[in-house]
Structure formats: structure tokens, C-alpha cells
Amino acid sequence: MLLLAIPFTSTCGTTTLSAPDPHVDDIRVRDLPRIPRDAGGPVFAEPWQAQAFALAVKLSERGYFTWKEWSTDLAAELKAAEDRGEPDDGTRYYEHWLATLERMVTRKGLTDIAALLVRKDAWADAYRHTPHGKPVKLTKDLVR
């Protein structure tokens, strides 16, 4: 038998769960995608994922938002991607994490979208103008 263990009201959807309808489930189960597998795998596929992860944890630790707020927003981001029909096999997870982070910091007034865009362009310029082999740094006029 399937027993849904529902602890208490909380963010991650437990409140909306209900016992599945056996007939509907037969159809749903047949059409379900298979689960991607890994063998341990790297913790982060690329360094930016680690940085995005750490930024969210540190900002929350400092009290700019609670982890519950974070999970709620991340869940909404994942749901929106699913609703757009994007395949969600877990490999794009940190892209959704990053989008959630941008949304969160602008919503909390820690920075704004314009500043993020200007700064992103500044970094792209810095890469274009830094000779190969030299560390990429933002210069004053690029930052501005």
C-alpha cells in the first residue's frame, strides 16, 4: 500500500497532496518519464553553479530572506519551467536556481535588474578586453 506521510503544513507542497486515484494513476504512470540516473556525479557541474548556490545560502544566513521563502520561490520557478513545457531532468536545475536568486535579490531590494544587466555587460566587456592569460578584472570605467 502507499501511505502518504504528511507531517504538517509547510512550503513544499505537502498540503496539496491527496491520496491518488488508482484509475487515473494507471494512465499517468504509463506516461511518466523515466528518472535520470547518476553515479554519484560531481556536486556542481560548473563553478558558477557552486557560486549561485553559495550566494543564496549566505544571503539567507544573513537574514535577507528565509529558507522557506527561498524554497517557495524556487518551487514556483521550477513549476513555471514545467508549465512552459521545458524538459526538466534536473540538469537545468541551477539555471532555475540562478533565476530564482536574481528574482529574490531584486524583490528584496538588494540590487535591481538594471544594475545586474549593466554589471553583466561590464563583465562581458572585461573578458573581451583582457589579454589572454591575464586575470579578468572590472575596471572603474567598465563598472560605471
Binding site: P7, G13, V29, F53, K79
Partner: protein, 211 residues
Amino acid sequence: MQPQSEIHSHEHQAVPSDPVLRVKALESLLVEKGLVDPAGLDELIDTFQHKIGPRNGARVIARAWVDPAYKQRLLADAPSAIDEAGFHNQYGDHMVVVENGSKVHNLVVCTLCSCYPWLMLGLPPVWYKSAAYRSRAIIDPRGVLREFGLELAEDTEVRVWDSTAELRYLVLPERPAGSEKLTEDELAALVTRDAMVGVAKVQMPAEGGKP
């Protein structure tokens, strides 16, 4: 770094991918404002990459197997028992340990995002974050377990636990038969991440293999 543009790539650096630039923009702005400390970021990343991982959880499980009093404390009050084992939870979430038995099998999922007991298991594997696992674990847990190569007896009750940001679950797997002579360290080496999520059982190593 993957070159995104071939133009000037010989004399200048290739512009990194969009997410790389967005993260650099976020990080540099937040650091400038003093909202995050770059050393703290590096330390956190290092901790998650090198120090935290399923080994923490495996140590706790092995201890519960060899020490019945500890097991009772772990099931009654997981955060305190885990703290007692030397793993201090700084993330503020509550944790509950659920025990597998001969007639009960527990499976953990986070249906809406990817809540996971980081301190015990490190970061979640890619399948745990996939829409397929998040939806199917609830609808068809036996089918999911079968895909992971775990066929449960018909009379085994499957309990699915939905982790949240505030309450995360860890499975206490069954101690494998034939492991009576193993030390706590040897037992810890047998405990896998998948077993603590509930998609596998802990197995004794094949004949001749060392635990």
C-alpha cells in the same frame, strides 16, 4: 571556460556563458555592497564540495546500527543525535529519521523543489531534482524503486515522505544480513546515499570483496 565567440579568441579571453556572467554580476554587486563576504562564499563552497557528503549520514547510520540507545535518540530527536555525533546543523531546518524494517520501506522526495538533508548527504543528485522523480515518487513509488533496481515484496508497506525547507527526512536503512562482525567504520563504508534517500537497500559486498 567554454569559448562562446571565436572573434579575438587568440589575443583576448573568450566571453563566458550567460549564467557565468549573471553570477559574476550578482556576486560582484552584492560583495561591493557588503551583503556577502567573498571568503565566506569560498568557504561554503569548499565545505560542500569536500567536507559534507553522504559520508556524514553514513557515520550516523552506522552508529545507530551498533548502538541501540543512540538509535533510539536518533529516531526520537534526530537534530540532537546528529549534533551529538559531531555534525552541527547551521541551516536551521529540522530533520526526522525514518526507519526501514522488514515490512516497511521509506522513500524520501521533495515534490515541489529539492529539499534535502544537506548536512547528512551533501547536495542532491540530479535525479532527485528531476520532475520525473518529484512527481513519480508520490504516484508510483514501487515503479520508481523498480527503476532503481529495488523490487519490494507485495506486503511491504511503502511510506513516501515529502521533505520541505523546514523538515527534511533521512532514511535509516536496514542493517544488511551477515554484517554482524563488521566494525562501525566498516558498516559506515557500506551505507550509500541512495539507501539514505530510500531508493536502495544497503548491501553486503560481494563474496571476497572487502567492505
